[in-house]
Amino acid sequence: QQQVKQSPQSLIVQKGGISIINCAYENTAFDYFPWYQQFPGKGPALLIAIRPDVSEKKEGRFTISFNKSAKQFSLHIMDSQPGDSATYFCAAPEPNNDMRFGAGTRLTVKP
């Protein structure tokens, strides 16, 4: 069953623009929401994560916004760069610390 639903499937943004990727979750037991970045031929790498006791977390150009009542969280990439072109996955961990991943968003940043 898909417990983490991610959109859009693909996204094209101009250099300097804002990239926004959304995720919705079903299991209210999730208490940690990471975003992973994956380049072709590589494994996923943790980008940024948030706990549900805060509504926003910012690290450099990357921001997570969290809406607990709507069971949604989103990734914002400010001043998007061509080097940000990758596939992004939202995820949430089961109690045994294994991740439930969204289907992924392929981001292309055009120069």
Binding site: V4, P34, K42, G43, F89, P93, N96, M99
Partner: protein, 116 residues
Amino acid sequence: DAGVTQSPTHLIKTRGQQVTLRCSPKSGHDTVSWYQQALGQGPQFIFQYYEEEERQRGNFPDRFSGHQFPNYSSELNVNALLLGDSALYLCASSPPRGLRGPDTQYFGPGTRLTVL
């Protein structure tokens, strides 16, 4: 620190064959999880090994089995390969549970398995 390493990088098999994939966890980590990532999809949890035993399992058939060795390295075995088993197989390691924080799953580069 080499991080999580996996071998081989690529593998081509035919239907019905068996395959073994290998993973060495990040230094200091004792838990290994395996994931299957089909093309264009997010990783799907297969199972997790801790203290040389399978502790958790996802929705995968018994054709998928594994092993963890005393040095914490792990193997994933898949028997009677099907075309649908073609995927990127990812290994992720985690530190001892007492030291575990939220960002503690480190992924390897994966093994690309193609079944013809």
